[in-house]
């Protein structure tokens, strides 16, 4: 049966980037459809009626929502190439735990670094560095969170990097100075073609965010 794969996405979305990396790692050909989040397409509303959010993967007409669920689906269907999750159940549980941690902790604290000012922003920066330190601890001396190989945790975390220029500029901090190990890991990930191609340019993200901040009255 022909494999028809469509991805509904939004170019700076770190959650969408996860799916793009996963599909690239597996060598899956797909149609990319850019959504205007202020004017969501009928297809998006039909395929994700519960959340009305991107990314949505549509495989042979069937929708898949929520990036960790989509990535695990991709790993299970295209299982003959580039395994994303480890094969050992305990290692898989650890991988799921850390992606859940990233989703609970990174997004909200980071969002506050560019949507708030003053004390609230300082608290967000502090929380963000605590999160990075925890992740650095988990990485240890391994090249990737997956061990020797780039995997599920790495691809779930690296998309946030294209937002770092924005966070650092708005929040007036420097990640490499505080967390050099983390940035070393980032650089290793960026050496992968699938990652380098999937991540938009950080300055482009900053331009997009600047426009939003102006609208929010923060500039």
């Amino acid at each position: 049966m022909a494999n028809e794969v469509v991805l509904l996405d939004f170019w700076p979305s770190m959650f969408g980037i996860r799916v793009r990396i996963a599909l690239a790692e597996k060598g899956v050909k797909y149609e990319y459809k850019e959504e205007d989040l202020k004017n969501k397409s009928p297809l998006l509303l039909q395929m994700n009626p519960v959340h009305k959010k991107i990314p949505v993967l549509i495989h042979n007409g069937r929708p898949f929502c929520e990036s960790p669920i989509i990535v695990q689906y991709i790993d299970e269907v295209w299982k003959d190439k580039a395994p994303l999750l480890p094969s050992d159940p305990y290692q898989r549980a650890q991988a799921r735990f850390w992606v859940d941690f990233i989703d609970k902790k990174m997004y909200d604290s980071l969002r506050k670094t560019w949507t708030t000012k003053g004390e609230e922003q300082e608290a967000a920066k502090k929380e963000f560095f605590e999160v990075l330190k925890t992740l650095e601890g988990q990485l240890g001396d391994k090249p990737f969170f997956g061990g020797d190989n780039f995997g599920y945790v790495d691809l779930s975390l690296i998309p946030f990097y294209c937002w770092f220029y924005t966070y650092e500029t708005c929040g007036k901090f420097n990640v490499e100075a505080e967390c050099p190990k983390f940035i070393a890991w980032v650089k290793r990930c960026l050496q992968r073609e699938t990652v380098a191609k999937a991540l938009p340019d950080g300055k482009k993200v900053f331009e997009f965010v600047s426009a939003m901040r102006t609208n929010l009255g923060l500039e």
Binding site: E66, I69, I70, Y73, Q94, F101
Partner: protein
């Protein structure tokens, strides 16, 4: 090597109950410890240094935290009575509804429980809108997992028991049979399923506990602004 399975939970935690259910449903031999969260054991702190929360499953000395992660680990490790289907599409659906339960249902019900006055009215409205998705999903199915209990049922199972407790404390019915016939039927069938039915914490004790949790919110709302 002898299998050693230990579950750290509390007497009342619905998250701990999920892990308890799956181990029982699979017939796994395990020990459990009901933690006192005001005085966490060194074992808990050492096994879950990131969150210091229950439940934690310790299998042959190796800890796993986060109840939904524990459910998938147990399902993959003990293959009898599988919780997740084989088909990747169905697996994704089960995970979707389990996550929906965590991100939306739990949050909206909790808000309906703790908020007061006009905010509570809005929270109840939002909770009902959220629950409608569950009602829709149950069409033509006995359980979220289909004919038998699956991952989403265990993830959402707390509804079958705690909703009654919350409704008693706040004096408002959240899941009315007329509005939610399928969800109500599911709650009853799940609550009375083998293994599940023997596991519920005592109702009165839960009511007392959650009433006490709600107190500070009621008091804060009663303060003159």
């Amino acid at each position: 090597m002898a299998e050693e399975v230990k579950l750290l939970k509390t007497w009342s935690s619905p998250f701990g109950l999920r892990a308890f259910w799956i181990l029982k449903l699979k017939g796994v031999q395990f020990d459990f410890i009901d933690e006192d969260l005001s005085n966490k054991s060194p074992l808990l702190l050492q096994s879950n240094p990131v969150y210091k929360k229950v439940p934690v499953l310790i299998h042959n000395g190796k800890p796993i935290s986060e109840s939904l992660v524990i459910l998938e680990y147990v399902d993959e490790t003990w293959k009898q009575n599988p919780l997740l289907p084989e088909d990747p599409y169905e697996r994704a659906r089960a995970r979707f509804w389990a996550k929906f339960g965590e991100d939306k249902v739990l949050v909206s019900i909790w808000n309906a429980f703790i908020k007061q006055g006009k905010e509570q009215e809005e929270a109840i409205g939002l909770a009902i809108e959220t629950l409608k998705f569950l009602e829709e999903e149950l069409k033509g199915k006995r359980f979220f997992g289909g004919e038998k209990i699956g991952l989403a049922d265990l993830a959402l199972g707390w509804l079958a028991n705690l909703i009654g407790v919350f409704e008693e404390v706040i004096g408002v019915k959240l899941i009315e049979k007329e509005r939610f016939p399928l969800l109500s039927a599911w709650m009853q069938e799940f609550a009375e399923a083998p293994v599940i039915k023997e596991s519920w914490p005592p109702h009165e004790k839960l009511v007392t506990k959650f009433r006490a949790i709600r107190e500070p919110y009621v008091a804060a709302a009663a303060q003159p602004k």
